[in-house]
Amino acid sequence: MFEIVKKDMKLMFRERTFVSVVFLIVFVAGISSVVTFGLIMLYNPDYLGFYGTSKVAVVGECFIESCYDKKTAMELFKSGKVDAVLIVSDVDGIKYVDVIVPDDEIKAAQVLSYVKKLLTEYEEKLRNVYGVPNLELKVYSGGREIEIPSGSSTVFKFIYLILIPLLSITTAVVAAGMTIDSVCEEIQSRSIEVLLSTPLTPFKISVSKVATPMIFSSLLTALWLLLLALNKVDVANPVLAFIISVSITAFFVSLGYLMAAKFRDRERAQLLFSILAAGSLPLMVTKYASPAVMVGRAAAGAEIDLTTAAVFSAASFALLAFSPFIAKIDEI
């Protein structure tokens, strides 16, 4: 039995499988910082002080230096000398501001984040004059006052609640794909006949077909947890994260094995598997009770529902243990 596991592992290394999967995982983890950065800019362009230096012209109530009459302001806007025109009119102390920005998404996003900052400050100033309290909240860390970059929470949630669950699911999907391939390859290339003529029982062959991907994915999970830590992403509870992640793999590998043994044909098994995996992906990354989310939460050091986690892990490993009994790959 161990011979088959050894053979499959050897093949994997020779065929660069391991290399390409590691590359995949490293790549996903590596560019995560870039993707996060981009997403933050999309959601929240003022993150990291991304205000730029937009030029604005003010018409009417003059609250900054660059004030013009409307005609000049519009001409400046037309010639591109200013990026936005703010037409301010006062009605009973309330300033109504028409902000004219270019009808171009990229420019508008940059200008608007600047205008937003400008007008928020103006509002605070006016509130002070009118006696409306502004929120005075100071943040301290280690005895010093600090500035919290807005968007920190989004970044944090992205890493722990999207990226880590995705890494865990990718590992599981890869392992399941591997199971399907390795079972179907033996059947379709008829090498199963050769294996069956050896003292190995069909049961042992089945067990070795699910054992290899499990070993592989456990190594992989440990590797990406380590890479995250090296990337300065704190992993608060690595053992728990590892166990839950490996149980997700166990569940997926069992499904992959059952489909492959049932269809005995790679194309259909892979298609069916990928349709189901793609369909359940949204639930797996959005739900509190999803095991993949639990991996992320365990890494973040947040509380998880331990009963659900334990039941899921036990059920997955039970399914994995029983799958060679449910479907054998003996008859041709």
């Binding site: 093949l11 994997m12 065929e15 660069r16 790549f27 560019i31 910082s33 870039v34 981009g38 800019m41 999309l42 362009p45 519009m74 010639s79 009119s89 009605v91 300033k95 109504y96 501001v97 028409d98 902000v99 004219i100 920005v101 270019p102 998404e105 990229i106 508008a108 996003a109 608007l112 205008v115 937003k116 007008l119 103006y122 509002e123 006016l126 509130r127 009118y130 309290p133 909240l137 943040v139 301290y140 280690g142 919290i148 807005s150 970044v155 722990y160 609640l161 669950p165 591997m178 790679r266 194309e267 298609l271 189901l276 359940s280 639930l283 959005t286 739900k287 509190y288 973040a300 509380e303």
Partner: protein, 547 residues
Amino acid sequence: MNSVLKVAKFEIKKSRKRYGGGSLLLIILAVAISASLGYASIITGIDSDRGIYTTNVKVDLETFTSSSSPDVALFDSKLFVERSDRSLAAADELLKYLKEEHRKRVEKEFGEMAHPVRVSVVYLEPSGITPPERVVEEKEKPPETGGKVSESVGNKSSSGSALKTTTAVAATTAVKTTTTPMAVEETKPTTPESNATYVPPEDIKTPSLVDRMVLAFLFVIPSYFTVQVFSSSLLEDKLLRRLEVLLSAIDRSDLIFGKMLPYLLLSLLSAIAVSIYLNSFLAFLFAIPVVLLLFSAQTFVVMISRSYREATFLLLVVSLLITIYAFIPAVFSTAIPLSKISPITLLLAYIQGEELAVSDLALSFAHYLIMAFMLFYFGMKALNPDISHGKEIFQKLIEISRLSVTSNYAAFIFAFLSISFAFMAELFAILAVFILPQQLMIPALLTCVAVVEEFIKGIIIFSSPTLSRGIFTAIGFFLGEKILILFNVLHEYSIAFLGQFLALPLILHIATAITIALMAKKGYAKALGLAIALHAVYDYAVVMLLV
């Protein structure tokens, strides 16, 4: 053409046999389950962040739970945090909540004076200002982003109906005070309903592409499944040596295109269906380059892989790379002009109704189509028993190069076209070096560029390592680089690509190409290693000395 159709018909028949009866039913069932799971996730919403942070006070927020050792602590209008990501994130979330609470309080207490500044955003094309008859319509905000805004406005109008009337007055006075007829005036709200667009400054929404990003995925997602079925079928035919049998009767290109045709049509139809659904009829055209690249890359991978397992992973890697390459630039479209290299960025802009520059379109389509064409071509060349079975991937690449690059002119053309791949790889290198410490970024990037460029040149030169082949390859590659500079795409990255110099890069490319050609006899690895080292040292020296 006839034989293409014949192969296509055969392919459909094969699929029908495979998916006949029970299998099809199971697949349909799986699709139905997937769709309902997806739907369930939409209607039940996201709760993965429930109680992820802790604080010492009781807050009415799902993401927080109370704890005696909290991530963020609040003591009389002071927040105390630790220097950890989690603590900072918790503080950010709590601050947002406290701001919202404060806002509710002052709105209740001070009514409309709580927001002494109200803003309405008007999008206007600067060049379209003069004609007075032009009516500029204010863009409507999508309901989900406007929800919060209208809610707060609603609160205010219930506290005092004066708000609506005053705003109307403001609008009319603004119109009256001006004498020059300008288009802006038409945008002034004249009815009480449109006054709802005046919002407090903190509610200004910057245009966001995220919603449409999801739409863009709709165009390509069905293709992932069709291309998967295609590559599986092709792989099976290859591994069972059916392709070799078919080759004796049918032309290579007819065989591949015939097998691909049904799946390609299916992808195209799904993209057209999405276009019609979105009422943006030509949008599917932008998906074509991406879909073609997916198909061609998978064909190539199938041709060079030895087993199911090897193919599965290589297919996964190339699909992921293409997805990232096509979609990630769209994320940066608000900040980086280079993002227009992806047809997906252009697709989003098109759906939005923005005008697209012909040069952007040409460059982006040419970039993707050239890569797709080359991968198809190499895939066809690789349809050869010597390459299909056995050998290392690197050896296969050289074998394919030997079959494809048959003359110095071919070397020139391929080197010229392969700049597309170099460009793609170098953009990935830019993404990858982001994670490094600042002082390592430039050296790492320069090394990556050297590796990518010399590797590509090397593969072409190894087809026949002679001096002339080397020089033709170098000149082709050099011209390709210059074309990109001409298009100005590398404007911002010219340091990395050393684009501002003319003679020096030419000399460099020729020098390294000759090195590769001469050293090839001593081993490919040695030849490439030396060329890469030469290139990297040169790049580094130029950056240090001249920039």
